[in-house]
């Protein structure tokens, strides 16, 4: 629903016609917070998509890359008594070849790094598959040249009998282009619906991957807050509630995922 109220546009428009607003970079003397450990952990039902990343936070205006933490012990357990040790494949990145999560199971994450212990749990929901992806091409109303804007409609059918939470990620040529869009079925429970992504930067021959993850309520709440943080209009931004226990920030989620790929065709073939 937030998408329907382009609040920022409205205010800027008012200032626009008065043609006097301006933006500028300023220096802020903001206190340095202590470093904290960050956990970015996803278990998936798709093979080789379960990845746990361990890093440290950086000072706000730093230009250094993030420090990833090696030599941690990362373990995943499920409620059938199975336990998996995830080895480090890249600095700070822990994955297990061929690991596949199973719908309906409860998973627990245990991390030990230096003297810090972190654990969390998440139950993997049932999968909801993407029905189809529709690419919508419309002439751009914002530029003078003959440019087109690409929009995506991700069609799926929501199950009626439960409350579902979704997270959408769009990858362009294997890197994350648009992530952290979350939705719940309050307005479309039981219906076939679509999620609309307007004005995505794409070019012919780009490989686009759309991933639909079914997530739990804690993850929905986490990413809902993350998605709002860049708006200057929140009354008082705050940090999302983490489902981790221990001296760390971040999240752990067991997601049931489905993906669809396509390659952006030549414009002439669509029009």
């Amino acid at each position: 629903m937030r998408a329907f109220i382009p609040y920022k546009i409205t205010v800027i428009l008012i200032a626009f016609f008065a043609f006097i607003s301006c933006e500028k970079v300023i220096e802020l003397d903001i206190g340095q917070a202590e470093e904290t450990v960050v956990v970015d952990a996803v278990i998936s039902n798709l093979p080789n998509q379960s990845i746990i990343r361990l890093s440290k936070s950086n000072p706000l205006f730093s230009s250094d890359p993030y420090t990833f933490l090696s030599d941690a012990s990362v373990r995943i357990k499920n409620n059938h008594g199975e336990s998996f040790l995830f080895p480090e494949s890249e600095p700070g990145v822990y994955t297990l070849d061929d690991f596949k999560g199973i719908e309906g199971l409860e998973y627990q994450l245990d991390i030990e790094w230096e003297d810090i212990k972190i654990n969390a749990s998440s139950k993997m929901p049932k999968t909801v598959a993407i029905d189809s992806i529709e690419l919508v091409v419309t002439p751009s109303r914002f530029t003078q040249n003959d440019e087109y804007i690409f929009s995506l409609k991700v069609h799926f059918t929501d199950p009626l009998d439960e409350t579902n939470y979704y997270r959408f990620d769009i990858f362009k040529n294997d890197s994350l282009y648009n992530g952290f869009v979350v939705s719940n079925d309050l307005f479309y429970n039981g219906l076939t619906t679509y999620q609309f992504f307007m004005n995505q930067e794409m070019q012919t021959q780009d490989t686009i991957c759309v991933q639909l993850s079914c997530i739990d309520k804690a993850n929905y709440s986490y990413f809902l807050v993350l998605g709002q943080l860049d708006s200057p209009f929140i009354i008082a931004p705050g940090n999302p509630v983490s489902n981790l226990k221990g001296n760390a920030i971040g999240f752990f989620g067991a997601y049931a995922q489905s993906r669809k790929y396509f390659i952006v065709p030549d414009i002439d073939t669509i029009l």
């Binding site: 109220i5 008012i14 970079v25 903001i30 000072p59 994350l176 309050l186």
Partner: protein, 789 residues
């Protein structure tokens, strides 16, 4: 408990009616000689006997009980010539007075006995009085004179954000202000996201803001009462006035219905901000619609000696449309029917029926997939108030107020191309009732007291599904209620007391204590007043909020009332106030009550005010030093944190210089230390994206804000030279058509004040974040042409 209270009130009323001495009343109405408008707060005093007097009520009615005898009466009102009358009081007598406004020459001369020391004598605590004349002189944004913007120049009143007409009074939030337009409550008093207020100052007669110490006749909001009365309309002759400006134009027409007995006024205003978008080269912005309009209409008629009937209405709407695919409109409508009745010279009553509606509508999507989201709140209000002028040292106010609220927090209508279900968040209903009794009593010649109590009662009513939540926000119980079935009942006593001790002819001291309850709450999720904020009633999940405020003040006039000085200090504590959980879903959420947290607040401060009233140069300085904090278990680890509107220092300087008869210069300068704000302190990475890690709530401050506005008003020639028919000489005659030009500059030294600060990737180096400050307004000149005839 309630029954015995009612008996107590009846008993007291009986007492009042029978405890009279052998005296007679002199009563009547005090009006403006030129227009016939009522003059509220005008004073009647006795020439020979100090310390005895009365003042007129909101309808210009006064009543003074005196013993048989001969008296020299004196009628005074600021800005008007004093009038004298001699009466021989041997029976009740009615005198209707018309006071003449002071002309420019006369206002420079001191007039002896004029009650300019009203600020010393009157037993009104912490009232900010702004005259319509001052509103018209002060330079404002886009040249639009505005009631709220002028009020924000008073101590203790802080604007919500740049250009916004929302306001905070003494640390309270913006839903804690009771805004009354001719007794009708107004839920959203701003246009265009808060850049303008809905009040067209051409139609207004009287504006009073109570910051604390409000009488028992007011209730329902914790922090302030903004009581706005519209003009009645010129009862003597037809007049029209208006203005043409860069952003908006307005026209007001007034006329008698029956000369001196009845009149009406119609006042309209429309902006045309969207005229400028036509110049844009951008297609989407070119088609944008952006305008608002206000229409105020009022009529009144006197029936016989003792009755007067009024009908008034207000209609206003903002419309914003962008592309055919998005539209947004919102507005208020109010209607009031009122009947004044004078039972006898000592008993005045007012009965009103009021309707008030605030609604908004969002339209989104192309026409084949249109979605409509709407929300509204409707009040039906019955008020019955009495004023009993017992004798020369005691008068009483008592009455009853019943409001029925209907709230529709949101409904979504989606057409047949169903990608969303149509959804209606259930309507909520409530009945808010209050009875009050207060007495204003002169205990001695220097001590007077205004004390009273209000008993308020709130019932949430069915029909509807009523949810009970656990602490995680999940529904644990749903109960179904039928129409008019009581869901929950809250009530309480709200005692009020304030006292004035007149130290001498030029100084006084005041103290007050006010306890208030608030049953209707505004849920707001953005930093400026959004038209989509929702009003919710107290319920099984939401307790009523309450506040206790106490304060003292010292008032002194200097140089024969040329300078007015006051210093006030207050302490306010608030209980059961509301905030959102960090992951709350506000829009269209039937379970939003599960996303709320409850806590308390406190505010304290001191306000200094110095005003120069007379002379070519007039104006004032207002300084407020204050603090306002909140405490919620779930926020900030249960520690007190500053509220967003906590601005330590707040200064306003206003000057008006009458350079000549036709030229007036004015300037206003404001300075305040920045809002409390939450900044990120470090960043981290999730899935390759930078995420900001925030500090404790509101632990930083925005940069200081200051701004200078200038205005020049040039009156065109008032008089024309004509040949007098009788004498054949040339004489000066006042022109029927008067006009003036107003030039103003907003933000004259072009300071880039911070509206918001956000953190974004640097364009040159995407790995680095930068703090970006958005300023809304740089220097803005504007011109308005005003006329009247």
């Amino acid at each position: 408990m309630k029954v015995s209270f009612l008996f107590l009130m009846c008993f007291l009323s009986m007492q009042m009616l029978f405890a009279q001495q052998k005296d007679y009343s002199v009563s009547g109405t005090i009006r403006d000689w030129e227009t016939g408008e009522d003059l509220p707060g005008a004073t009647l005093s006795l020439k020979n006997k100090g310390g005895v007097g009365a003042s007129s009520n909101a309808y210009g009615y006064f009543s003074l009980a005196l013993q048989e005898g001969n008296y020299d009466l004196m009628f005074t009102y600021i800005g008007y010539e004093t009038q004298y009358a001699n009466i021989n009081l041997i029976a009740n007598q009615v005198i209707n007075i018309e006071l003449k406004p002071l002309t420019a020459e006369l206002s420079e001369i001191e007039i002896i006995g004029e009650r300019e020391d009203r600020n010393i004598r009157a037993n009104e605590m912490t009232v900010a009085n702004v005259s319509i004349k001052e509103i018209e002189s002060i330079p404002v944004l886009f040249g639009e004179r505005d009631v709220f913007k002028t009020l924000q120049l008073m101590p203790g009143v802080k604007p919500a954000s740049e250009g916004s007409s929302g306001f905070y009074v003494r640390g309270g939030s913006s839903d804690q202000n009771l805004i009354l337009l001719d007794e009708a409550p107004v839920y959203n008093a701003s246009h265009m996201m808060g850049f303008f207020s809905i009040f067209n100052s051409d139609a207004l007669r009287d504006i009073k803001l109570y910051k604390g110490g409000m009488g028992a006749e007011y209730g329902g909001r914790l922090s302030s009462v903004l009581d706005i009365k519209m003009k009645e309309g010129n009862a003597k002759q037809f007049t029209a006035n208006g203005g043409l400006g860069l952003i908006s134009s307005r026209l007001t027409i007034q006329s008698p219905i029956v000369k001196n007995k009845g009149s009406f006024i119609v006042s309209a205003r429309r902006t045309y901000a969207d005229l400028f978008t036509v110049f844009s080269k951008n297609e989407a912005i070119k088609d944008a619609q952006l305008y608002f309009y206000d229409l105020n209409a009022k009529g009144n008629i006197r029936i016989g000696e003792n009755d007067r009937v009024f009908i008034s209405g207000y209609f206003g709407r903002d419309k914003f449309g962008f592309d055919e695919r998005f539209g947004f409109n919102w507005g208020n409508s109010t209607a009031t029917i009122r009947w004044n009745h004078i039972f006898n010279p000592k008993l005045f009553s007012n009965t009103s029926f009021i309707y008030s509606k605030y609604s908004y509508q969002i339209l989104a999507g192309p026409s084949d997939r249109r979605i409509e989201i709407g929300s509204h709140i409707i009040d039906y209000n019955f008020k019955h108030d009495y004023q009993f002028y017992q004798n020369d040292h005691s008068s009483w106010k008592f009455g009853l107020n019943i409001i029925h609220h209907t709230m529709n927090p949101g409904d979504l209508n989606s057409d047949e191309n169903q990608i969303f279900n149509s959804l209606e968040v259930e309507k909520r209903y409530a009945l808010e009732t209050a009875v009050y009794l207060s007495n204003e009593r002169k205990i001695s010649s220097s001590l007077s007291l205004n004390y009273g109590v209000r008993f308020s009662d709130f019932i949430q009513l069915g029909p509807g599904n009523i949810y009970t939540f656990n602490s995680f926000g999940d529904v644990i119980k749903t109960d179904v209620y039928k129409k008019w079935e009581k869901v929950v009942n809250y009530n309480g006593l709200e005692p009020r007391i304030n006292g004035t001790w007149i130290i001498n002819a030029v100084s006084s001291f005041r103290a007050f204590y006010t306890y208030s309850k608030q049953y209707m709450h505004l849920l707001s999720n953005s930093s400026s007043d959004s038209p989509t904020d929702i009003w919710l009633p107290s319920s099984n999940n939401i307790k009523p909020s309450s506040s206790s405020q106490a304060g003292i003040g010292y008032y002194r006039n200097f140089k024969q009332n040329m300078y007015e000085f006051s210093i006030e200090a207050y302490y306010k504590s608030m209980q059961d106030i509301i905030d959102y959980k960090i992951d709350a879903q506000v829009t269209l959420n039937p379970l939003v009550e599960g996303d709320l947290v409850f806590g308390k607040g406190r505010a304290y401060g001191a306000e200094l005010f110095i005003k120069k009233r007379k002379g070519k140069l007039t104006g004032w300085i207002a300084y407020t030093l204050s603090r306002t904090e909140r405490l919620f278990e779930e926020i900030n680890s249960n520690n007190w944190y500053p509220a967003k509107q906590d601005r330590t220092h707040d200064i306003a300087l206003v000057a008006m210089f009458q350079m000549s008869k036709r030229i007036q210069l004015s300037a206003s300068w404001v300075y305040y230390t920045g809002n409390a704000v939450t900044y990120p302190e470090s960043k981290y990475t999730i899935n390759g994206q930078d995420i900001l890690l925030y500090s404790d709530r509101n632990s930083y401050r925005m940069p200081d804000y200051h701004r200078l506005d200038l205005a020049l008003s040039l009156k065109n020639k008032e008089f024309k030279t004509v040949v007098d028919r009788e004498t054949g000489k040339l004489v000066q005659q006042k022109k029927r058509f008067q006009s003036s030009w107003n030039f103003s500059i907003y933000n004259a030294y072009n300071r880039e004040n911070a509206y918001s600060i956000s953190f974004e990737q640097s364009e040159s180096n995407p790995d680095v974040l930068q703090a970006i400050q958005l300023s809304l307004f740089k220097i803005i000149p504007s011109i308005t042409y005003n006329f009247n005839f």
